[in-house]
Symmetry: C2
Subunit: 370 residues, 2 copies
């Protein structure tokens, strides 16, 4: 696995069970996954030489993030390495304009969109679709970074001033955000987890509710069909997370990720097969595991760093307060707003389960009692 963040770290847990020897490529030896994986290699994921040296002897190569240059992935594939997802699929998670083109081509539901290179393009787009216009960096954005909701040409000009290639999307008046996590293996087996609701604050996912509360079963099935179709059309191997907007006119695809995803962390404690195990199975072309839930309701809350870096003094309280809460720490230094872990609660009653997860997350962050 190229990259040694928390996704690689959490992949080590099922790798241990499955007897899979996981190797990671880390930038530094103190990264999240490097702390728990024996076969950690140091190198730069932007260097083809480093990637080649890393890949030697691996049965399959996969990724903890989407920042490996597409041309390097193509080179590795050309040299015979088994890379999942491959460059032809992954580019759709790296380049939002390529993704929109491809999705539009086979009829996946998307917001109106256009490539834009100057203010006149944006004004023309707004003339058709109205303000606000959502401008997105075509490459490299995440967690709300690289996205600007512009209400006026002046705001759009500011975003343009950054100098990165942009695209425009119509602002979608959505009722909530959903996510569908699917897996697809090289031999074409596909599986979908239940549709979840993702709750965002300031562009960062703070909570995931599984399954999405009150979602019409027809609409849930449609969301899963769309996600599996995208995986098939794009030739995704491994996991694919499809973030969607729920609107009064149906679902619209927002973003794609081709790796274990924050919206699937609940599966560690709440599904028979965690997303990390599923990703390993998929990239190694093993039969996929059951995505069924191990409880009627599962809520995951992200742990964000607070002002006090000494998280561990609040650790005991949370464990004592709720013996059923599951804690996951990423071995990262606490910095305000940084994702340093997550908590999961399972049960029968959504409001109660959600309150438990939120209490743990808020208390761990700042010692406040909600």
């Amino acid at each position: 696995m190229v990259g040694a963040g928390q996704l690689a770290r959490m992949t080590q847990q099922p790798a241990i069970a499955l007897g899979i020897e996981l190797r990671v490529l880390a930038n530094t030896p103190d990264e999240s996954a490097a702390r728990v994986i024996v076969d950690t290699r140091l190198g730069d994921y932007r260097s083809l030489d480093d990637l080649r040296a890393f890949a030697q002897g691996c049965h399959a190569i996969t990724f903890d993030h989407e920042h490996v240059p597409t041309e390097h992935i193509r080179a590795l594939e050309a040299e015979g390495y088994s890379v999942h997802p491959g460059a032809e699929a992954l580019v759709h998670a790296q380049d939002k304009a390529v993704m929109r083109e491809r999705l539009t081509a086979f009829g996946a539901p998307c917001p109106a969109w256009a490539r834009v290179s100057d203010l006149s393009d944006i004004s023309a787009f707004a003339a058709s679709h109205g303000w606000p216009v959502v401008l997105k960096a075509i490459r490299g954005g995440y967690d709300g970074r690289g996205v600007w909701v512009c209400h006026t040409p002046e705001e759009a000009a500011e975003a343009l001033a950054g100098g990165v290639p942009l695209m425009a999307e119509a602002f979608v008046p959505f009722s909530r955000e959903l996510a569908v996590l699917v897996a697809r293996s090289p031999h074409g087996q596909g599986v979908s987890y239940p549709v979840v609701e993702t709750v965002q604050q300031d562009g960062i996912c703070v909570e995931v509710l599984a399954p999405a509360p009150g979602l019409d079963p027809e609409e849930a099935a449609e969301a899963q069909r769309v996600a599996l179709r995208i995986a098939h059309e794009l030739g995704v191997t491994g996991l694919l997370a499809v973030e969607m907007f729920q609107t009064s006119n149906g679902l619209l695809v927002n973003e794609l990720a081709m790796r274990p995803h924050n919206s699937g962390h609940w599966t560690i404690d709440g599904s028979r097969t965690s997303q990390f195990e599923q990703h390993l199975r998929a990239v190694l072309d093993l039969p996929l595991g059951s995505p069924s839930m191990s409880a009627p309701v599962v809520v995951m809350a992200n742990l964000l760093g607070g002002d006090d870096p000494d998280l561990f003094k609040r650790y005991e309280h949370v464990m004592a307060h709720d013996p059923g809460i599951k804690l996951h720490f990423y071995g990262k230094e606490v910095r305000p707003g940084r994702k340093i872990g997550h908590v999961t609660a399972v049960g029968d009653d959504l409001e109660r389960v959600r309150a438990r997860a939120r209490h743990a997350a808020v208390y761990l962050m700042n010692g406040e009692y909600t």
Copy 2:
């Protein structure tokens, strides 16, 4: 954790989640846990110097097996190390005669027993309790090794000829074997998992059924009370597994183990808190986790090595046949009869769940379809 077998290996999984930096003392770098734990130190658990060097800087010391000499544990405790279980507790899992004396003293239900040093002692014991007489090595036996069921003085003489210190126990006509896993922390919190049935073949545990099918709730509660009482009386810190015989006259304590135990492997996939997480919490004096089950029925089957060491060619079949089966491999070379992993199935119907677990275990061992 002193020792780097599969128990230490499986402890690494929750250590990753809890942000606990697990260090192991391994004999060789290719042991089960050494393959997946970055902070592996090499050394001999029988050497106090090696133990001292290993313990430096650890917040707590615990064990993957019960073979560390009691006097070394006493020495570490005297030097201020936090060792769990401590020597005073652990000796009861190391020395069966000391265990029987202590249990008898506070009234825990045990088979009739006596220390024996020669054939006349054994004959005297048989005169009171009848043949067969069960002779046990006082130290060092496990998985049926170190236990002799002797029907005649001649068979007893053979066992005596081995030269190891023995004790005698009355043969118990039990209906089945049960096990209770409890945890106790230094500050005295205790928790009990549901009572399970352990199914043995040739002295080796092959299956664990959770909860023990058809067990009277009163008898289950009594078994849990006995196990928690033993943990309290012996001052156990960490996990305690109490193996029991169920007889028409009630329960009798058979063996004790003070560490994660084979009878608790089902908890990884079948309980909200795995025994490995529970052990970490207990030895670090953190609040204990919920022992509740995540499904009505859980069956664990041990994977024993078969004649064909190429286990992995049967791996795919098992995954494809049952997407819900959970596989756990210990990273050990396959040798006939050796415990190399386990499988777990969860569900609602005991016979169906048991058949699933058994199919996976038997097929992985020898490619036979049950």
